[in-house]
C-alpha cells in the first residue's frame, strides 16, 4: 500500500520534472502570462476587468482572421491589438466615464467578446495558420544545436526550445516590472490605482492614465489570446481560451500584482492545466481516482481557490490597489 503510494508519487514526479512536460507547460503558460501582465496593469490603474476571456477571444479571432486573410504576421498582431483594445475601450468608457459597476461591465465584455469572436472565428473555422507565419514560430531562437551532456540537453529541451513568442512574453513581463517600479510613469500609474483622488490632486491626468492602461492591458490580453489559434493550435475553435481568461484574473492576485512573479505563476497554472493529459498516458497513475483526468482538470481552479483563501487570511498583507471597484468622482468626500 505505502509502496504503491510512493511509487505513484515517484511516477508523478518523473512526469512533472521531465523535460518534455516542462516544455509543454512553458508553452501552455504564454497565453496566461501575457493575459496576467495585461490584467495586472489594468488593475494597477484601479480597474478590475473581468472581461479578460472576452478580450483574449477578441484578440485571437481578429488576429487569426487577419492572419488567414493577409498572411501577414504584423497585421495579425496589429489587429489582435485592435480587437482586444476595442473591447477594453468599451470597458473603459463604461467604467471610467460612465461609472458603471466594474464587475458587471467586465462580464458584459466577456459575453460580447466571446460572441463577436465566435461569430468572426467561424468564418475561418476550416483554415490553418498560413505557412509563412507558422514558419516564424518554428524558429527556436535560443535552442542549442548540439547540447553537450545530459544537463544541457535537459535545459535545452525544457527551456530553450521555444518559439519567439514565449521569450517575448517573458521579456515583456520583466520590462513591465521595471516600468512599474523604476519609472515615474509607473509610479503615477500605481498612485492612480492606490488613491485616484490623491493622484488627481497631484496633477496627474487620471482619466487619461486609466484609459491608457485599461486599453494597453486589453491589448496584451489580445496578443496572448492570439497565441492559441495562430501558434499553439494552428486553427480556430470557438471559445478556445476555455476559461484561461478567468484564471488570469485569479493569477493577478496569486502574483500579488507583480509582473515578474507572473512568469512563475503562469507556469504553475499552465502546467497544472496540462497535467491531467500527461498523467492520463501513464496507465498505473490514471487508474488512481485522484489522478483521473477529469479530477485533475480541477486542479488549477482548486489552486486558485486555495490561493484566494490563503491571501484572505493574511490580514497584514497588502490587499491590492485600493481603488479597485470604486468609481472615481472628482472631489467626492
Amino acid at each position: 500500500m505505502i509502496g504503491d503510494f510512493f511509487s505513484s508519487i515517484g511516477s508523478l514526479l518523473s512526469i512533472v520534472f521531465s523535460a518534455s512536460f516542462i516544455a509543454s507547460g512553458v508553452a501552455f503558460s504564454v497565453v496566461m502570462l501575457l493575459g496576467t501582465v495585461g490584467e495586472l496593469i489594468t488593475e494597477r490603474a484601479g480597474h478590475l476587468n473581468l472581461g479578460v476571456e472576452g478580450m483574449m477571444l477578441l484578440g485571437a479571432s481578429m488576429g487569426y482572421y487577419t492572419a488567414v486573410r493577409s498572411s501577414n504576421l504584423f497585421l495579425a498582431l496589429l489587429f489582435a491589438c485592435i480587437g482586444a483594445g476595442f473591447g477594453a475601450l468599451l470597458y473603459a468608457i463604461l467604467t471610467v466615464t460612465l461609472r458603471v459597476n466594474q464587475n458587471v461591465a467586465g462580464l458584459a465584455l466577456s459575453i460580447f467578446g466571446a460572441g463577436l469572436a465566435n461569430a468572426l472565428g467561424s468564418k475561418v473555422a476550416n483554415t490553418t495558420t498560413p505557412d509563412n507565419i507558422a514558419k516564424v514560430f518554428t524558429w527556436k531562437p535560443l535552442s542549442l544545436t548540439s547540447p553537450s551532456g545530459p544537463f544541457l540537453s535537459y535545459i535545452n529541451k525544457a527551456f530553450l526550445s521555444h518559439d519567439i513568442y514565449v521569450y517575448l512574453a517573458v521579456l515583456l513581463a520583466i520590462a513591465t516590472t521595471v516600468f512599474l517600479f523604476k519609472t515615474r510613469a509607473g509610479l503615477e500609474l500605481r498612485l492612480t490605482g492606490e488613491n485616484t483622488a490623491a493622484a488627481d490632486a497631484s496633477g496627474i491626468k487620471v482619466t487619461r492614465i486609466k484609459y491608457l492602461y485599461i486599453i494597453l492591458g486589453g491589448m496584451l490580453c489580445g496578443i496572448g489570446g492570439l497565441y492559441l489559434p495562430l501558434v499553439q493550435q494552428g486553427s480556430w475553435t470557438n471559445n478556445m481560451t476555455a476559461g484561461q481568461g478567468w484564471l488570469v484574473v485569479a493569477l493577478v492576485i496569486f502574483v500579488r500584482w507583480h509582473p515578474v512573479k507572473a512568469i512563475a505563476g503562469a507556469y504553475v497554472f499552465g502546467s497544472l492545466t496540462i497535467l491531467g493529459f500527461s498523467v492520463q498516458l501513464n496507465e498505473k497513475l490514471s487508474s488512481i481516482p485522484i489522478f483521473n483526468q477529469y479530477i485533475m482538470s480541477m486542479f488549477p481552479y482548486l489552486l486558485t481557490i486555495i490561493v484566494l483563501i490563503a491571501f484572505s487570511s493574511r490580514k497584514k498583507a497588502w490587499p491590492g490597489p485600493k481603488e479597485i471597484g470604486r468609481p472615481y468622482f472628482r472631489e467626492e468626500r
Binding site: L50, G54, L90, I93, L94, T97, L98, R99, V100, N101, N103, V104, A105, L107, A108, L109, S110, I111, F112, G113, A114, G115, L116, A117, N118, A119, L120, S122, K123, T207, N238, G243, W246, V249, A250, I253, N292, Y294, I295, S297, M298, Y301, L302, T304, I305, L308, I309, S312, S313, Y328, F329, R330, E331, E332, R333
Partner: protein
C-alpha cells in the same frame, strides 16, 4: 467643453425613457456589428423575432429558455441585494441538477411521480445551496474574494459533472458511449396543452422572492446588509447569519433552476446542462435592476434572443453567437445609459439671467442644505 454634475433625483418616466434609449443604442450597435460581419441586418433581426415569437413552437421554445434564466436570475438577485457577487450561477445550476439526478438514481423506482419530483427539487435546492455556501463560508468568515471564488466553483462543477459523465455515473447501457442514464419518466415534468408545467417554477419563485425582499424581516435585513454592513452591525443585526441565509437561498434557488431544467427539458445530466444560463442570468438581474418582476420580463426578452439565435443559425447560417453580441451590447448600453439618470451634462457656462432664473426656482426644502456634501463633479 462640457462638464458633468450629479443629479439629485429622477422620475420613473425618465428611468424608463433612458433605459429604452440604452436598449435602442444597443440594438443599433449590434446592427452595425452584424453588418460588419457581412450578414443582412434587417433580415437577421426579423428572423430573430420570427424565431422567438413567430409560431407556437417558437414561443414554447422561448419559454423553455425563459424558465432556467428567470429562476437563476431571481436566485442571484438575492445575493446581489447583499452586494455579494455570486458569479457562480452556472456551477450552482449544475450541482442542483447533479443532486437531483443523484436522488433520482437512489430513490426506489416504484415511488409516485410527484413525490419523486418533490424530492428532486429539494435535492436541487440543497445541491445549489451547498455549492454556493462553500465560497459563502469563506467570504463570511474570512472575507475571501467571493467574485473569483464563486467563478472558480463553476469550473469545479463542470469538471465534476464531466467526471460523473465519463466515469463514475457512466451508463453501461450506452455501449461504450459516454453518458448518464435518463431520469425515470415519471420524474419528468408533464406538459399541459403543449406547455411544460415547469413554467410554474418562475411564477412561484418570483412571488416568493418579491415577498421575501419587500415584506419580511429577513428581506429587510438583506437590503440593509447590502447597503452598509456597518449600519447592519450597528442595528444589532447578525450580519454573518443573514449573509449565510441569503447565500443559501440564492444558491438554493439557482439549484432549483438546475433541477427543473433536468426534469423539464434535458432529462439527463451533462456538463452543458447549464448552457451559460448562470452567466446570462447575471446580466438579466442587473438589467432588471434586481427587481423581481422586472427579472421575469427581462428574462423573457433574453430568452427570445437566445431562441431566435438558434433559429437564425439554422435558417440563415448566421452564427448563434450573434445572440451573445446583442446581449453584451444591450447590457453595456443600458448600464451606460443609467449614467444619464445620475448625472447631468452641462455645455458651456451659465448666463447670468439663467442663473437668476434657476435661483428663483430653487426648491425651498433644500435651502439650508450644505452643498459640499452632495457634490459630485468631474470634467472630461
Amino acid at each position: 467643453m462640457f462638464r458633468i454634475t450629479k443629479k439629485e433625483s429622477f422620475t420613473k418616466a425618465e428611468a424608463i425613457i433612458y433605459r429604452l434609449f440604452g436598449f435602442s443604442v444597443g440594438i443599433i450597435f449590434s446592427g452595425i456589428i452584424i453588418a460588419a460581419l457581412g450578414y443582412p441586418v434587417f433580415k437577421t433581426f426579423i428572423s430573430l423575432a420570427e424565431g422567438s415569437f413567430g409560431s407556437s413552437i417558437a414561443i414554447r421554445n422561448t419559454i423553455s429558455f425563459l424558465i432556467p434564466l428567470s429562476v437563476t436570475a431571481l436566485g442571484l438577485s438575492i445575493a446581489f441585494k447583499m452586494r455579494y457577487w455570486n458569479i457562480g450561477g452556472e456551477g450552482q445550476i449544475l450541482m442542483g441538477a447533479t443532486a437531483a439526478m443523484g436522488v433520482s438514481m437512489v430513490l426506489p423506482s416504484g415511488m409516485p411521480g410527484p413525490l419523486m419530483m418533490l424530492s428532486m427539487l429539494v435535492a436541487g435546492f440543497i445541491g445549489g445551496s451547498i455549492w454556493a455556501l462553500i465560497p459563502g463560508f469563506f467570504r463570511i468568515n474570512m472575507k475571501t474574494n467571493e467574485t473569483l471564488f464563486t467563478l472558480m466553483m463553476n469550473y469545479l462543477a463542470i469538471c465534476f459533472v464531466q467526471y460523473l459523465y465519463f466515469e463514475l455515473w457512466r451508463d453501461p447501457a450506452k455501449k461504450g458511449f459516454p453518458g448518464i442514464q435518463d431520469i425515470p419518466f415519471r420524474a419528468r415534468i408533464p406538459y399541459v396543452s403543449g406547455i411544460s408545467l415547469a413554467i410554474l417554477a418562475p411564477l412561484i419563485i418570483v412571488l416568493v422572492v418579491y415577498f421575501l425582499i419587500k415584506k419580511t424581516k429577513l428581506g429587510y435585513e438583506i437590503r440593509v446588509v447590502g447597503e452598509s454592513e456597518p449600519t447592519a452591525h450597528y442595528a444589532g443585526m447578525n450580519v454573518k447569519k443573514i449573509m449565510f441565509v441569503g447565500v443559501m437561498l440564492s444558491g438554493g434557488i439557482v439549484g432549483v433552476a438546475g433541477a427543473v431544467k433536468l426534469m423539464g427539458s434535458t432529462g439527463t445530466l451533462s456538463s452543458s446542462l447549464g448552457g451559460g444560463a448562470g452567466f446570462t442570468a447575471i446580466v438579466i438581474a442587473w438589467l432588471a435592476n434586481l427587481s423581481a418582476p422586472m427579472i421575469v420580463l427581462v428574462s423573457f426578452l433574453i430568452a427570445a434572443l437566445e431562441q431566435g439565435a438558434q433559429f437564425i443559425q439554422v435558417r440563415m447560417g448566421v452564427p448563434a453567437a450573434v445572440a451573445d453580441i446583442v446581449k453584451g451590447l444591450i447590457l453595456m448600453s443600458v448600464l451606460g445609459s443609467e449614467f444619464m439618470l445620475r448625472y447631468k451634462i452641462l455645455f458651456g457656462v451659465h448666463t447670468a439671467s439663467k442663473k437668476l432664473e434657476e435661483r428663483a426656482s430653487v426648491d425651498p426644502t433644500m435651502q439650508d442644505s450644505d452643498p459640499e456634501s452632495e457634490v459630485v463633479e468631474d470634467s472630461i
